[in-house]
Symmetry: C2
Subunit: 366 residues, 2 copies
């Protein structure tokens, strides 16, 4: 008697769905995918969209059909789900560390085209040893810290030093650099954002030049996200952009000026209690992430505040148009972490469900 997804959902109107559930507006999604594909169509830079946002091979296929050079995944578990869904050309954007993960990376590379990243010589050697033992040469990028101070080796001589070592490792095939400027993505003002982006790209491009001077390959220089994708083509050395959130957007990216993508994702919730100027809905921390600020009610002049794991409070300045049982859509503040809470997308067109897609890589944090 454990609940299973309603097989009859297709054809239902949004109002007929049980709540809370994740709604994906297919028209908006497609327009976002088309707009990004169009943007890169006439540029030397390519798009390798990040699948950590959507976590479904369905959207990855739509991205590849529109010209994406491949996809990115944050974790091996995501990459395994994508490969099982027929996706290839997968850049795993985080370092693969430890024997269990290296075994899985080798297994993955035997079934799909995979690129890995490294920021440490000993860790790279461990991957190389396993790949060589399996008769593989794994394509590999040196991950460079361009100012985010998360992963990555220092640009310049440190990166060159690691690249020279990787180039000599029999199980790795050096293909270039990764340098993700995550710290620049959400800067609201476009001029400030462009300046922060430039400050990150300068050391990345200089490092690419340094590798080239030493005869090392730089056929891939992977960087960028939704907030900075417009600026990437200004740099000759950059070959691809890793944007993820553009597919559905969220409140946080909605604040970033100069982006032309549409909000395509909401959580449908029901009013379960009401009093005065407030309505309580059945979506709290376990349905809507709050790591990037509060979600926002769509088409309602109300403020959403989380009220525990399973409730949110919609507060109106005056009056309260909602009755118990009414359904409301709430736009996530952070798409990636909200999608990761849900098992299913209810995919809609013109307010009606046209498909139900599993969030196939949900929870694949390993």
């Amino acid at each position: 008697m454990v609940w299973a997804p309603d097989p009859q959902a297709v054809g239902k109107t949004i109002d007929q769905l049980d709540t809370p559930c994740l709604l994906l507006d297919l028209d908006r999604l497609e327009r976002n995918l088309d707009a990004m594909a169009r943007f890169f169509a006439d540029k030397p830079v390519r798009l390798r969209p990040h699948a950590k946002t959507h976590k479904t091979p369905n959207v990855a296929r739509m991205q590849l059909e529109r010209g994406a050079v491949g996809i990115c995944c944050a974790k091996l578990g995501e990459a395994e789900v994508m490969a099982a869904g027929g996706i290839s050309g997968i850049l795993v954007t985080t370092e693969v560390v430890g024997p269990a993960k290296i075994r899985r990376l080798i297994g993955l590379a035997q079934q799909a085209s995979v690129i890995t990243v490294v920021d440490d010589a000993a860790a790279a050697q461990a991957v190389s040893d396993a790949a060589a033992a399996a008769g593989l040469r794994l394509r590999c990028l040196v991950d460079v810290d361009v100012g985010q101070h998360r992963t990555g080796v220092e640009p310049g001589e440190s990166a060159l030093d690691l690249a020279l070592k990787v180039a000599r490792m029999p199980g790795l095939e050096l293909a270039g650099l990764q340098g993700y400027e995550g710290h620049a993505q959400h800067i609201v003002d476009p001029d400030e954002r462009r300046t922060a982006h430039a400050a990150a790209m300068q050391p990345l491009c200089q490092t690419a030049d340094l590798l080239a001077v030493h005869g090392l390959p730089t056929e891939i220089v992977s960087t960028g996200g939704t907030g900075t994708h417009q600026f990437a083509a200004d740099y000759r050395a950059i070959t691809e952009v890793q944007a993820g959130s553009y597919v559905v957007m969220d409140i946080e990216y909605g604040h970033v000026a100069g982006l032309s993508f549409e909000s395509a994702l909401t959580v449908l919730a029901s009013v379960v209690s009401r009093s005065g100027t407030a309505a309580i809905v059945d979506a709290g921390y376990k349905s809507l992430s709050t790591d990037s600020g509060p979600p926002r009610a769509k088409n309602l002049d109300a403020r959403y505040t989380p009220r525990g794991d399973e409730h949110g409070r919609l507060t109106f300045d005056s009056g309260n148009p909602l009755a118990i049982g009414d359904k409301v859509e709430i736009t996530p503040s952070h798409c990636d972490t909200t999608i990761n809470l849900h098992d299913l997308y209810y995919v809609t067109r013109d307010g009606r469900v046209v498909a139900v897609w599993p969030v196939a890589a949900r929870g694949r944090v390993q």
Copy 2:
């Protein structure tokens, strides 16, 4: 080739596990369960622990074996998982609204002993109609707002009015009241907490007396949580406490003075990158919730700050004892929402895995 839980995990040491993963210390869990059971053993108040925290019938069974009168669930989906796991005596602590959910509530009640809550006459009538049509009388509590301002009808006359209506509904059997003082649970100072608790219990107990005066049943008056469980027995009208987090605790409850439960839950992470006084681990927003503040590294003098979906930064005041590949345990700030991110518990005793339990109700927000 999609990743499946390692069937060989049992017998491994913690250091041999892949990361990030959720570790549950069985000795500490059992001591917490025993301590709470002992606390209520000689009191007129009973324990009906909240399963929204642990989300597994395995722990629910351990609670029932130790004398719990039943369990609580926040959502029907959780209750369905518990019932499928053989658990009965389930109080669903949130209002059941809408035809789809009412159908599921009826289905659940046909297979397990279930209690529902209501805070609105029309919503109660809809549940009653469906129950009566199925030939059922569902036990029901009137949910009272005791100051949390989430769900619940006003105490006193409003609650009495609803109780009188419910008592006349053929599909419902009024059993008493629920009044959860969530706002008092995390007050650090025990005297302040007791005062806030008293302010919430006064209207609840007065409402119970009012029902009794009108000949209405108050055999269940359900309230309380981990932070206030000690005070419940001071009130004659209160019959049961809904504590949940005591089973594993977390950083936020760790600040609450006067609780004697142990931290039994951590997320195991690996160092994947390092530089200077910082180490980057492979656990970010998608492995450790941040709705209740930052998680904390266990047994390390380091500060954890999330660095995106899949990374966290451990910062040491000076030095950095960690190497790439090292494993660290991180204690969640909020147990409920962190558990809900994971599919599996790695259950350990003396540092070795003795079982792997599915977080069976993970994601069951409907």
